[in-house]
Symmetry: C3
Subunit: 129 residues, 3 copies
């Protein structure tokens, strides 16, 4: 599970980075806590972080459960797609929210594959095949 | 752990569905990213997804930790209550936010039971009994 | 892993408590769902919960992965720092959002150490050392 662990660590480090970018945007665009709106650019950084939180809550369980029911190297490779997808999502969203689609697709796609692989594997186990 | 895995996969699929409903509501009610407010109906869909994210962050660890310290079939049965609770929460909230209470109770209840079971089991282990 | 499990249960209970405080603040400050803004005090409680959700999504995987690659008692001790940090974050933020810094540092610090320990351990495993 070494590569799956590596992908997990990198996904968490990426999330920490997005969080740090929100903190920086707070200062730069003068949005004082507890506010999370009032400046379009700040909101972009904040929405990247929130969407990544949503995707992470799906991706990490899907990755680990999927890796129990498929080749772990393939699971890790799908994880690498997720990491690239999130990086593109960040770049696209900051440039223009309408450009977030490609990055979003590349994060939801690997999670869905992993989840389906987990579902098929779990169903087979329960049906005793 | 087959049934616990199945509940996990279904809870994640349900979360994906709620997310897709937010995406659809974005188009339908004309809320353009990065905005997440401005239309009451859109906000209902968005709040269902956010509340489910909060509940998922509690439920999944509680389910897996609880299942280490209680009968796994009972843990999975509590997970089934969670799934029904979330479905009712979605239906209730979209119809009228005041109607979200039953669904909410049916999601926080199984998580709390699982968490208490985990706590008792962990405490027993640490006390060497 | 007994102490790591205990820290996990306590972190989840703390999160449940913060969520209950948001529910109470909703009534007290008259913020009706689906709204999550409109009163500064309500927003403080809500932001504590949301920030804790973000931190929990980082902390729990970092704790469990870190504990695979370092002394588990040390991992649990770092977890105890997280718990104290979150309690201080709550107290500070409710009193004055500008006072949230110490509590925030004491939650991001243990997560980062655990994540770095996991990264080093995983990298060593993959490099076969």
């Amino acid at each position: 599970m070494g590569w799956v662990e590596l992908v997990t660590v990198l996904a968490l480090l990426q999330f920490v980075f997005f969080g740090a970018m929100v903190g920086r945007a707070r200062g730069k665009y003068g949005i004082r806590a507890p506010a999370v709106s009032g400046n379009e650019m700040f909101e972009r950084y904040y929405r990247v972080q929130m969407n990544t939180l949503e995707q992470l809550a799906l991706f990490l369980p899907a990755l680990w459960l999927g890796a129990q029911h498929m080749d772990t190297q393939w699971a890790a490779a799908l994880g690498a797609v997720y990491l690239v997808g999130r990086a593109l999502y960040f770049r696209g969203y900051i440039a223009d929210p309408a450009k977030r689609e490609l990055g979003f697709s590349l994060t939801i796609f690997p999670s869905t594959i992993l989840l389906v692989a987990a579902f098929v594997g779990v169903a087979r186990d329960l049906l005793g095949r």
